[in-house]
Amino acid sequence: MENPYAIEMLNITKVFPGIVANDDITLQLKKGEIHALLGENGAGKSTLMSVLFGLYQPEKGVIKKDGKEVKVNNPNDANELGIGMVHQHFKLVECFSVLDNIILGVEPCKHGFLQKNAARKKVLELSEKYGLQVNPDAIIEDITVGMQQRTEILKMLYRDNEILIFDEPTAVLTPQEIEELMKIMKNLVAEGKSILFISHKLNEIMSVADRCTVLRKGKYVGTVEIKDTTKEELSRMMVGRDVDFVVQKEEKTPGEVIFDVENLSVGSKTSKKDAVKNVSFRVRAGEIVCIAGIDGNGQTELVYGLTGLEPVKSGKIALCGKDITKASIRKRNTSGMSHIPEDRHKHGLVLDYTLEDNIVLQRYFEPEFTGKTGFLKRGNIRAYAERLIEQYDVRSGQGPVTLARSMSGGNQQKAIIAREIDKDPQLLVAVQPTRGLDVGAIEYIHRQLVAQRDAGRGVLLVSLELEEVLSVPDRILVMYEGEIVGELDPKTTTAEELGLYMSGAKREEK
């Protein structure tokens, strides 16, 4: 009988300093299936995929292709075996065009000259065949994340890869782009490709995958057929307990105004028009206000303006009654503002610092951590980091001295959240705080946001996730093309109505 498996990873064990990232894990990918890989943050999903892609050598275990044992010593081997990977954080050359990125490393040459026309033709054919719309001449840094991802996918297809690994492809996409990607993935398997798909979003797994393998803390839990299972069962397998998908929250009357934004305008980096136009809103003590909208409608610039990362053009920002429109970032941070940034690698972390040094990034200058003579109080820093790691369940190989770079994406995010919430801010600006987190961690973060609110703090949440927008906040402000076009009550509104506002089809008269 013919072997039904495209690739098999048998009894894989991979050890990092201080942690067994993969402990005797077996994963079998059938030909022509979409196989989901599910597990908490730090469960070892990315590690397992890196082993398959030849980035890491396992201590134990074998990899078989079409039933035959193979060695994958590096990504080139993987490529030869037809294995391609889209990484959790993309690996594109920012200043190159889409086409150049796709052919990078496998440039078609004749007598030493590039044959770009042939390459372009092949890329256009592939993009047509699988419905992957890209502009081959656009420069990577100018295009949306969605198109960057399509470039990554085309890169795999261009190399005739048969086994495609997607490591959390949807974490950075808008809901529209996600739907698009799901369609593309289905096209790909229809054309005979096999897909390994990592995601924390159970809805996506339920809608697109055929089977799902679950990992927990580096160990194999089981493999299930999607048609025989439910979201609840999957999350139970993954976290080891029942997960509450509904945000628990009591009625509360908001108190005095904590944050007051008046007629704020912020310029744009890419166009002449302002990215944020004349925006006004307030956040009161004890309420969660959510800025909703499709990505790229000025939310990023609004947050930059509010937190001081970019200067504002006009308008006024007041925190607890004090005007902070022109205040420095440090001043804002010390007068009660916390900021969970959108991009954790760009702003949130110094990746080459240890976890403990990252945990004090907003407080290192306080007397608790720096003495009068300017020397750091290492002992206090360690103790503080240990407390936060424990309290917020930040998992890593070596605790406080782990390099931030070596931590799993979700745990990096948890470290930032611990740092920002523990500052006990008056106002917490949380930009997509649950991006890349597992369901258990999301539940935890949402509880933290509600706890802040219940403690009489203000929370400004910026989210692209419809589910989050509809369940966490007390008020929703919808942003469209740099303006706030509507205020909605999450208790009475629907996903459809929200969608109309977000797409600009509907707006409130001023």
């Binding site: 050598q57 440090r330 080459d352």
Partner: protein, 366 residues
Amino acid sequence: MKKEKRSFLQNNVVQSLLASLICIVLGLFIGFIVLLFINPSGAVDAILTIIKNFMVFPNGNIALKYLGNTLVKTAPLLMCALSVLFSYKVGLFNIGAAGQYVIGAGVAVYAALAWQLPWWLCALLAMAAGAALGAVSGLLKSYFNVNEVISGIMLNWISLYSMNMLLVKVKEDTSPYTKQIAIHGKAALLPSLGLDKLFYNNKYVTIAVPLAVLIAVLVWVVLEKTKFGYELKATGMNKNAAKYSGMAEKRNIIVTLMIGGALAALGATMFYLSGYEQWATSQSSVPGMGFNGIAAAFLGGLNPIGTIFASFFIQHITEGGAYVDKTMYSSQISDLISSLIIYLCGFVLFMKHVMSKHAAKKGGKE
């Protein structure tokens, strides 16, 4: 057993040391090949001479005296290396150290000869001048986004010619060299506090030597133990995160280059106020000290303490080159060989990268 070896190889310090040693051996080896090509019969002797340096003298006292000379030149090199290293930690490539060194030399020598100032005041003035030059690069970088390498290189030449012009005023009547400080600017001679006695009365060995080592330790302490160092390194590793956390990244860049400038200028003071050499106002190339500082910083694994040894080694090789048999090799050979080795030193980071990548594959650390 196998596990232990792996984690041993992954140790950062071990990796740095190993990478440096490999580069040194490789450099000596290539130097040897070149010597073989030029004149095979003397190659073994020549390379041994270079490695031995002052130890070629059978008489212990003489050897000691020449060891002193190597140390005299090590101090300024170490200071330039520290200047480069300090800036590098903040993500800046201070190629301007060469010019800052020149400015330091010019100001110190001028203050000594024209104004008869005491050594410490000359040193302070020189440091101020070096810092000012660093500030120019820093301001250009933080407010106009001018790359510090470009502005540094241009300032190197500007410094050289302006210092030549300045020092013409205090040169000897019959030669392009500045007057001897030992005669015309006695107050500016660095005190030796009896150190000269240790090196068989080598009068050029002064407090500069221990001072340079002390400053290296100080740089290490500042970078590793203080809030200031924490901020600077964070700025160097991720300036967006530094900005996000409210650090004044623009100011940090300027301050860093000012400190770098002061360090290099102090290095020049340590050398020229020892009286070892006079400044030639006819010079038309920037002294190599600042550039060699780059090599020393990398060879030292970008660690201030490692840099102490790296600076000594580079100066040791350079001095050793001077003793190569000139009947067999042209007199430029010493420069050629030491440059080769210094050049190879630049590959330390590359070596380290290769090693850690290798270790990562097996062991899995970044």
